[in-house]
Every structure is written in structure tokens, then in C-alpha cells.
Amino acid sequence: MKRRGRKQRRLLLIGVAGAVLCVAAGLVLYALSSRIAFFDSPTDVVTHQLPPGTRIRLGGLVAQGTLVKQPDGHVRFDVTDGRTSIAVSYQGLLPDLFREGQGVVAEGAIGRDLSLNADTILAKHDERYMPKEVVDALKASGRWQETANAPAGNAVTGPPMNITPPVTQ
């Protein structure tokens, strides 16, 4: 009698644990397949001719002389990887370290004419650190100088962030 009770209860336990794990695995797979924003360089966007509405993370440098700030807080600038440029429009506060000629990651949806309507802008954290996507994009386009731009290897203990917070719309 007692033996059977133990067996049944163990089965129930395994059943419940298995069910919860299955749900968790299913949720993870679903989330990974649908919601992740992939990283792209401006060249990627042009070569793949991404359809309007696609959510992407765009990385590169803020092109010199392209930053336009409108009085209503609307900002326009170009992101370049040295070969291709993509126009980005954004409404909101720019991070402290956002500057022309500096690395940036813009997250948002592709608009018409392969422009980007960004809702999140990440700028590099300090003089030593650059978002890794930007580094890779610059390396890919041959504009990376190892000594001048080498990112710092170890993140300092700090507020639990390693990049300037995205300014979300």
C-alpha cells in the first residue's frame, strides 16, 4: 500500500515538474524565435532590403555633420559604417555621450526608403568602451584601428549596466 503511494506521488511530482519545464521551454523558444531584435550594420540593411516595419538594432558611427535637432525634441542623424549610411529619426533625449563621429546603436523599426524610426538609442559608455556591435561593424568595413579604439576588457563595478541606458521613447 505504502509503496504504491510513494510511486504515485513521485509520478505526480515528475508530471508537474515536467509540465512546468515544458511550459518554460516552450515560452523560451517562442520568445527567442519571435521577439529578438537582430543586430545589423547599415550595409546589411541595404543589401538585404529589409521590408518596412522590421525591428532591428542598427550599429555604426553617427555620421559627421548629419545631426539635426528640431525644437520639438525630434532628432535626425545618419548612422554609417563607412560604406553605407542609414537615416535615423528619433524622438527623445539622447544619451549623455551621444556625439557625431561616435559609436551608436539605434533600435527601432525600418521605415520607408530604408530609414529607421528609432525608439531606443544606446551610446558608448565612456572613452574606453564602445558597443561591441559597433566595433565589429567597423572591423568588417575596415575602419577599425586597434590601438585607438580598443575597448576596455573589464567592466568596472558600477550601477548594474555596462552601457549608457537606452533612452526609450
Binding site: V20, G73, G158, N162
Partner: protein
């Protein structure tokens, strides 16, 4: 000279740790009490030596000894004393030394206060603790020596990173490390139990206070880090699902599960193998967190590959400890006797469900944190896993957990009655539902989930109150009798209720601030007014200020509520000439539990300023809730019956093993 003393003390500590890891262990295997007795004095002396070493480094910082490379790189003679001191752990080398100091501290605490542990278990625990110390001491001495000297010391140090010049640096890392490293004690207890092949309810009673202490520190540490990020980053958010944050959340989830399963083990002698596994996992996740933050792998998997010594070293430590412990577990777990039986509907059953859901939630965080790293390392594909991922995976697993939480303490051990439990919670259910409707009516309904989320938070608080009310028979007996019962109730019962209610407060804070909050971004000229959630903010003007290391522009806002002046807020922008960086200092105004938050964008030459203003209703509950949770832990910890070996109070007539306590 003093820096060299610190270095030597560290080397001596390593030598002592090797003795502490070897001699008592050998003694335990041979049942030689004289050898086992080496453990405690060795642990105490090791703590003394590491403490000496840490004090030496701190001395170098306080007197601004720039001939020490670490000081020259991370401090400056102009810094206020507080930031000179906190500068010690602002960098990789110093924070690893703090890590080892806390490791040694916990070892010393076990040595000093573990007088009632069986001598063999104590020897084994301290040996295992010493193995961890050996690994990290070698790591510091070989790859991250904070005492390196410079041949030609600079006249001035390079300064502390401006973002770190904050009281948060004094509070957050030490608390977090106390939590991380505190998990090493339950790990040591688990490994010792596996080696000894003996584990019983007494083991849980010995190990649980340490887990509880670590969990408390981790809870407060995470909350303080979150508040620091909230006010310093100028973004108005308090949790970013950043890998560095997830690194602290993973051990917290595992430690929370461990706390609960250890209760089952202590009271009912069940779930033993699972508890041991959780103890191993909790510390393993702490190590993973240390690896993620310290190896540089988060900055870029490529920077990890280009300067691999430290990263590889920690990875090896990680593999040895996690792999070793899990192998030992696989080998020895079968020898542990299975525990008591219980019905699915029972206190044990509820705690098992708690553990399943917590583990699954922890697993989603692990996947979300490690999968992008693995994918990029293996295929070079870069993905970003952020809030959308965790909202879809973590939240659906936590919601049922929160819902069932009040039921657990209402169920009896062994065989519970779910209908009786539901009946006892009916009143709380009705009141919280009514309160929720009132809140929805007053504040509006941004989304179905937000109103449900607020109810969940209220439900947790209501459930906690109901539990205490039920146990003191409030309303069913005369008030004096209830009072007598409340005094007689074990403190751990109040601890549980407080911790559960604290979580409820945190849930309310998070949901309210994220879904009922308001924000506005505008360019403002002096004299203009911005209105948000009933507050009118007028930009009065600018104040220039030259600090020791930075130039600061403060913008004055007068805040009016209902026409009357209710305060002045002064956010500012600082420019650090030396580092060529600038920071924004947000201004916060707390109104009851809610906060008004201003952060600045660019200030144009004509005084036009981009301003971002947030209204965050009851946002402070997010962190206050965590503090209440930790107070619950403290309450539980102060329960006499948890403190091993203290003579049982003569007043209490019921034997401790029967009285429910958690």
C-alpha cells in the same frame, strides 16, 4: 612598505588556506579530532590575514599612494574620503579582494559561532570553504594583484569613474558580495554532507541560517543596485534585464528556492537530495555571476578572447567547483536515504510547487543571459535579449507562483485541506479584490495586466496578514487570547509573513511605476512651465558651480501642485574635464511613496534645455518591499530555534520539531 605587507599577508593567507583545506579534511577522513580541530583557528587567522591585506590596500587609497598602480588608476587626491575608500572596490583587483575578504569572513563566522556543529561536519565545511578561498587567492595573486607598484609614480591619480562617485558604490557592491559569497557556506555544507554521506533534518537546521543571511544580503544588495541605477542613470527605469543584473538575480532565485526546500527538509526530513542540489546550484550561479562580470565576456566575447588570462582562470575555477560538486552529487546522492511521505496537497506539496516554479523561472533567466553569449561565441550571430524576452518567459512563470503563495502557509504539513485554506483566504480575497476595484476606479486602467498585477501584490500582503490572523485566531477568540497567541507565535512565522508581504509591496511598486507612470520630454526655455500628472514644473534658471573635478550646471525648477509651491528640484549636468566625460544628475522629489523625477538633456547656448520628467506612482515600494523582505529574513534569523545549540527556551512547552516555523 604597507602595500608590500598587504601583499605578504595575502600570500600567507593562501598558505593558511591550503592548510585549512587539507589538514582538517584528512582528519575528517581518518576521524582524527586533533586534525579536525585545526580548521577553526586556521579559518579565523585566514580572515585576519585577508583583513590585514584589505586594510593595507585601503590605507594606500586613503593616503593616495600613487606608487601603487591600482590606486593611481582608480583614485585621485581630490576625492572626498568616502570615495577614496569606496574606490578600493571600484575596480577589478580591489573587488576581487573584497570578494575573498567576505569569503574569509563567512569562514571565520562558522569557526567562531559553529560551536555546536559536530566537529567532523565543521571540519569538512571549513575545508570546502578553504578550497574556494585557495582558488580565488591564487586568482588574485596570479592575475589581479592589487599591490603592484609603479617604478615612477605619477603625481596625481587618474581618478575614479564619475559614474561611480556615489554613495551607491559604498552600499551596493559590499551587500551584493555578502549575498553572493554567503551562498558559499550552504555550498560548503552541501559538499560536506555529500562527502560524509550523512544528511538529516539537523543538517538543514545548521545550514539554513547561513542561507537565510546570504539571501537577506542578496535581496537588499539587488534592491540597492536597482535604486542606484534608477537615480544615477537618468532613465527612470530600475531594472534593465542587463546580464550584470541577471547575474545577481539567478543566485537570488536559487537561494529563495533553497530557503523553502530547506524548511521541508528541516521539518519533515524530505526533499533532501533536492535541497543539496539547490545549495550547489545557488553558489554555482554566484560563481557564474562573478565570471560574467569579471571576465570581460559581457563587454564582448572578442575582448574575452584577446585578453584571456583572467577570464580563462575564472572559467577554470567555475568548471572545477561546479563540475566537481555536481560529480560528487551524482556519485553520492544515491546513498542519501529518501525522506518522509507527503500528500500532494500539503505544506510540503506547496513548497515543492514553489521550488518547481522558481527553478523554471531561474532557468529562463539563465537561458536569456547565457544563450546570446553562447550563440555569438559559436556562430558569430548577435542577438539582443531584453525586456520583451523576459516579459514573455519569466513573468508567466512567476505569476502562478505569486498566486499560490498565500495558500502555502495555510496548508498543514503532510496532508492539507485546500478548501479550508481557501476558506481562510476568502476574506483577504474579497478585500483585496474590492481594493483593486477602487484603485482601478480612481487611477484608471492602463491595461488588464496592470490591474491584475496590482491585485497580485495586494493579494500577497492580504494573504500574509490572513496567515497571522488565522494563527492567532483573530476574531474567533477574545482579543486578549489572540494577543497571548501572537506573543507566543514563533518569530519565524512573522518572518514568513513579512517576507511574503514585502514581495507583495515590491510587485505593487513595479506594476504601478511601470504602467501608471507618466513621462514628458520637452525643450524648455527659462520661465516656461511643463505640466505632468497635476504637477507644474517651471524652469527658473541656471546656477553654475565649479566642483573640485568638474564644472556643474544646475537647473532650478520650482514645482507647484494645485497652485501652491511644493518644492524646488535641481537636476544638473556635470562635465569632467580630465576624463572628457559628462554626466547628468537626476533630481528626485518623493511625495509619499511616489516620485517626481527630472533628468536633463542638452543645454543650448540660449538656455533652451531638453528636459525629461517622469511621474512614478508608488515607485519607492519596489525597494521598500525588498527591505521588508530582508526584515522578514532577519526576524526569522532571530528565532531562537534556528540558532543551533542555544538551549531551548523553558517557557515553550511544545517540542520545536513539531511547531511550524519558517
Amino acid at each position: 612598505m604597507i602595500a608590500e605587507l598587504g601583499h605578504f599577508a595575502l600570500v600567507l593567507a593562501l598558505g593558511l588556506a591550503i592548510i585549512q583545506g587539507g589538514v582538517p579534511f584528512y582528519g575528517a577522513l581518518r576521524n582524527d579530532e586533533r586534525l579536525e580541530a585545526v580548521a577553526a583557528p586556521a579559518a579565523l587567522t585566514q580572515f585576519l590575514l585577508v583583513g590585514l591585506s584589505f586594510a593595507a590596500l585601503m590605507h594606500a587609497y586613503v593616503v593616495s599612494d600613487f606608487s601603487v598602480l591600482n590606486v593611481a588608476e582608480n583614485s585621485n587626491s581630490n576625492l572626498p574620503l568616502l570615495y577614496k575608500i569606496t574606490g578600493v572596490w571600484s575596480n577589478h583587483e580591489g573587488s576581487m579582494l573584497l570578494w575573498v575578504l567576505i569569503l574569509a569572513l563567512f569562514g571565520a563566522l562558522v569557526a567562531a559561532f559553529g560551536n555546536n556543529l559536530p566537529i567532523k561536519l565543521k571540519a569538512l565545511v571549513l575545508s570546502v570553504q578553504a578550497w574556494t578561498a585557495i582558488a580565488f587567492l591564487i586568482f588574485i595573486l596570479a592575475t589581479s594583484n592589487p599591490f603592484l607598484r609603479l617604478d615612477t609614480p605619477p603625481l596625481e591619480g587618474q581618478d575614479l569613474n564619475p559614474v561611480l562617485e556615489d554613495i551607491g558604490l559604498a552600499i551596493h557592491p559590499p551587500l551584493l558580495y555578502l549575498g553572493y559569497v554567503g551562498c558559499s557556506i550552504s555550498f560548503a555544507f552541501a559538499v560536506a554532507a555529500l562527502i560524509e554521506g550523512r544528511i538529516d533534518a539537523a543538517w538543514a537546521r545548521w545550514a539554513r541560517p547561513w542561507t537565510l543571511a546570504a539571501w537577506m544580503f542578496l535581496t537588499v544588495g539587488i534592491a540597492m543596485g536597482s535604486y542606484w541605477a534608477y537615480y544615477t542613470l537618468g532613465w527612470g527605469g530600475f531594472w534593465f534585464w542587463d546580464p550584470v543584473e541577471n547575474a545577481s538575480l539567478m543566485p537570488w532565485l536559487a537561494a529563495t528556492a533553497l530557503l523553502h526546500s530547506a524548511v521541508v527538509m528541516e521539518k519533515r526530513d524530505a526533499l533532501k537530495i533536492w535541497t543539496i542540489l539547490l545549495a550547489i546550484l545557488a553558489f554555482s550561479l554566484s560563481l557564474v555571476g562573478t565570471f560574467l562580470v569579471r571576465s570581460g565576456v559581457l563587454t564582448s566575447v572578442h575582448s574575452f578572447a584577446s585578453d584571456p588570462t583572467r577570464g580563462i582562470f575564472i572559467l577554470v575555477i567555475l568548471c572545477i567547483f561546479i563540475g566537481g560538486a555536481l560529480t560528487l552529487f551524482a556519485w553520492r546522492a544515491g546513498t542519501l536515504a529518501p525522506g518522509g511521505l507527503f500528500a500532494p496537497i500539503s505544506r510540503e506539496g506547496a513548497l515543492v510547487l514553489n521550488n518547481i516554479l522558481l527553478s523554471a523561472a531561474a532557468a529562463t533567466v539563465i537561458v536569456g543571459t547565457l544563450y546570446p553569449l553562447a550563440l555569438e561565441t559559436l556562430t558569430g550571430i548577435k542577438i539582443s535579449v531584453g525586456a520583451p524576452f523576459f516579459n514573455l518567459t519569466f513573468v508567466p512563470l512567476v505569476v502562478p507562483l505569486l498566486f499560490i503563495m498565500p495558500f502555502g502557509p495555510m496548508l498543514a504539513w503532510k496532508r492539507g485541506d485546500i478548501y479550508a485554506a481557501a476558506q481562510r483566504l476568502m476574506l483577504a480575497f474579497g478585500i483585496t479584490l474590492a481594493a483593486d476595484v477602487v484603485i482601478a476606479d480612481i487611477a484608471g486602467v492602463p491595461s488588464a495586466f496592470s490591474i491584475f498585477g496590482i491585485w497580485l501584490g495586494l493579494w500577497l500582503v492580504g494573504g500574509a496578514i490572513s496567515e497571522i490572523a488565522f494563527r492567532v485566531k483573530l476574531g474567533t477568540t477574545p482579543l486578549a487570547e489572540s494577543w497571548r497567541r501572537a506573543i507566543g507565535l514563533p518569530r519565524s512565522a512573522f518572518g514568513t509573513a513579512l517576507a511574503h508581504a514585502g514581495l507583495g509591496l515590491t510587485v505593487i511598486g513595479i506594476i504601478a511605476a511601470t504602467t501608471w507612470g507618466a513621462e514628458s520630454i520637452r525643450s524648455m526655455k527659462p520661465g516656461e512651465t511643463l505640466e505632468l500628472s497635476g504637477y507644474a514644473l517651471t524652469l527658473d534658471g541656471f546656477v553654475q558651480h565649479h566642483g573640485p573635478e568638474y564644472d556643474e550646471t544646475t537647473v532650478r525648477f520650482s514645482v507647484r501642485h494645485g497652485g501652491a509651491l511644493s518644492g524646488i528640484m535641481e537636476p544638473s549636468k556635470r562635465t569632467y574635464a580630465d576624463r572628457q566625460t559628462s554626466t547628468s544628475e537626476a533630481a528626485l522629489k518623493t511625495v509619499w511613496l511616489s516620485q517626481l523625477y527630472i533628468s536633463l538633456g542638452d543645454i543650448a547656448a540660449d538656455g533652451t534645455t531638453t528636459v525629461r520628467v517622469y511621474w512614478k506612482p508608488v515607485v519607492t515600494l519596489t525597494w521598500l518591499g525588498a527591505i521588508v523582505m530582508a526584515l522578514g529574513g532577519l526576524m526569522s534569523l532571530s528565532d531562537r530555534r534556528l540558532r543551533v545549540g542555544i538551549p531551548k527556551s523553558a517557557r515553550r512547552s511544545s517540542p520545536p520539531a513539531v511547531a511550524p516555523a519558517e
